[in-house]
Symmetry: C2
Subunit: 344 residues, 2 copies
């Protein structure tokens, strides 16, 4: 909704004042779908047709901390800040370089100047919705005025855990990282209007990576493509989405003075071609408002939403006074939504 007075009033009160000051991203080398199709014996065009992915990026030398640090440095540079200005670093992702220490410590160490920082550094993991959950937590923390800046980083590497015989996941996922610097809102008109995150654990086994933890320790279960690759039941995830999203959204917008179709820009998790198409089924919204990066990045797990957000900022699609709706489903299974109003 554009900034005329009536519409501004109808856009609701900011619940948690805060401001996305800048975003950044890092992408490893691009891998075209035609290359994957040719390397793994898939029919030409299979990926675009069934997964909706024309290209994605995949790591060669990079690890999770490396990609996250480069995305973070880009966001910091755009904000004209250094890591020493940051009060809290949140690593909001599922991928990890090592089981211990936590991702945020390794990330902070990798960021230029990070070893001189004295910020708080911890991980938040809500699978694909990690960035959205972390953004809300950052906004909660920024209600303490002595905290000035929080850095959220989502860096994901899926390419090390794919089963080449499972064409759906092989073609769908991509690697990449994105970051955002969030700070105080000067006029209290920028911030989160509403956030909601709900678990539906009947879907806890519909998207999973079983091996390598306590349940199937590596010391007892040697590497096996079935146990150590990401597995998902796309049909079941779609069924759960269609079953629970309508009520979730009805409830979400019931306390807001506008509906889903009224938001100015939608940043959905890039779950899959079918997943993105659910939006059309559920809401009569101008398709131009719904940002897509699935075709060029694939599903980058928790990095999908901030990567799409970063590109929307870079293309000046997120405008002061307007509402940005971040929404998605995630492994677990959960649904999450957040309305952010951008301003000073």
């Amino acid at each position: 909704m554009r900034m005329d007075q009536n519409l501004e009033e109808s856009s609701g009160v900011v619940d948690l004042p805060c401001r996305i000051i800048s975003t950044g991203k890092y992408l490893p080398k691009q891998v075209l779908s035609s290359t994957i199709e040719s390397n793994h014996g898939l029919p030409e065009g299979w990926s675009s047709k069934f997964s909706g992915v024309n290209s994605r990026h995949q790591v060669s030398h990079e690890n999770v901390a490396f990609m996250g640090a480069r995305a973070a440095e880009s966001a910091l540079e755009k904000a004209n800040l250094t890591i020493e200005d940051i009060d809290v670093v949140i690593s909001a992702n599922t991928s990890y370089d090592q089981p211990l220490p936590n991702k945020a410590s390794l990330l902070l160490h990798e960021i230029k100047g990070g070893s001189n920082s004295r910020c708080s550094a911890f991980d938040v993991n809500a699978t694909c919705l990690s960035f959205v959950v972390a953004f809300n937590l950052a906004a909660e923390m920024l209600q303490h005025k002595e905290r000035k800046y929080i850095l959220i980083v989502s860096s994901e590497i899926s390419s090390k855990n794919l089963d080449a015989s499972d064409w759906e996941t092989l073609t769908l996922f991509g690697d990449g990282a994105a970051a955002a610097v969030v700070g105080q809102s000067q006029d209290k008109k920028s911030g989160i209007l509403k956030f909601k995150h709900e678990a539906f654990t009947e879907g806890h086994d519909k998207a999973k990576l079983l091996g390598g933890g306590v349940s199937y320790p590596f010391s007892e279960y040697p590497w096996d493509v079935n146990l150590h690759s990401f597995k998902m039941d796309g049909k079941e995830l779609l069924r759960l989405s269609l079953k629970y999203i309508p009520h979730f959204m009805k409830d979400f917008f019931s306390t807001l003075p506008f509906n889903w179709s009224d938001v100015d820009i939608v940043i959905p998790h890039q779950a899959s071609k079918t997943g993105l198409n659910i939006i059309k089924k559920l809401v009569n919204i101008d398709p131009e408002k719904v940002q897509r990066s699935l075709d060029i990045y694939g599903n980058c797990i928790a990095a999908s939403i901030p990567l799409t957000l970063n590109d929307a900022f870079d293309k000046s699609k997120i405008i002061e006074g307007e509402t940005c709706f971040m929404v998605g489903t995630s492994a677990g299974f959960s649904i999450g939504a957040l309305v952010y109003k951008h301003g000073q």
Copy 2:
């Protein structure tokens, strides 16, 4: 400090009103140090003498979600609540049953009635300080009055990742889980007075588990005791603690109207015998105030602080109007401290 008026005034203003309503724990079977010494060829009494651990608990059939769920159910029962009353579940630990989905989803599914819950469920990982960081986040979230109850669960299994030839870690670590239900403070006099968490990433490689993530993927690095066991450089961790804790504490208490020696009860992370002994070097505090569980549980990573807290509550050592100081260091390396004042 007891609840007389002058002392109440001097105990500081509650920054984030909230209340620890209940705690719970789950421990797997006890394993005496004599058993470990006899099984692995250690001299009799080595564990008590060098690690300060007489016994710890180790899993047989349990996994991380199972232990966490039992601890959570115990805390819920004491609070006379069910999981459906809970708004947010935070899994605050380092151990994981599977790399995906997140721990909180698997935990929630395992809790009695959890699959009917519609709460938010996510993980927070700040290694050994995960519970403290999560408690502060829970308190921030409870400033929204529509959130009534947040469940924090720390469940840790270290016994699957120990190198039997490394006596220091073999004897030091234990498995266990603890949970806390945190809710609104009725009179606003219960809550967090201050929280601080600082990273010192020069210590990022002094406590680590290298293998099994993106840097050393299973598919390329077969199981190896050095790569896939927890390694720590105890001397370096001690050096970092002695280097950074004094300034951290001076700064921490500089804005509070009391000093470390004035807090009523200290719940330290049970890092090690040497680690616990640092407290005596740094502060002239009545040793009776400093709670210890290292001898009976070992170092239970993020579960150490809530296990010790649970036992202090069970023994009625945490009294209304009094201050509880949670403090510790963690892999990463980081230092964290939180003052909680218990009340209604």
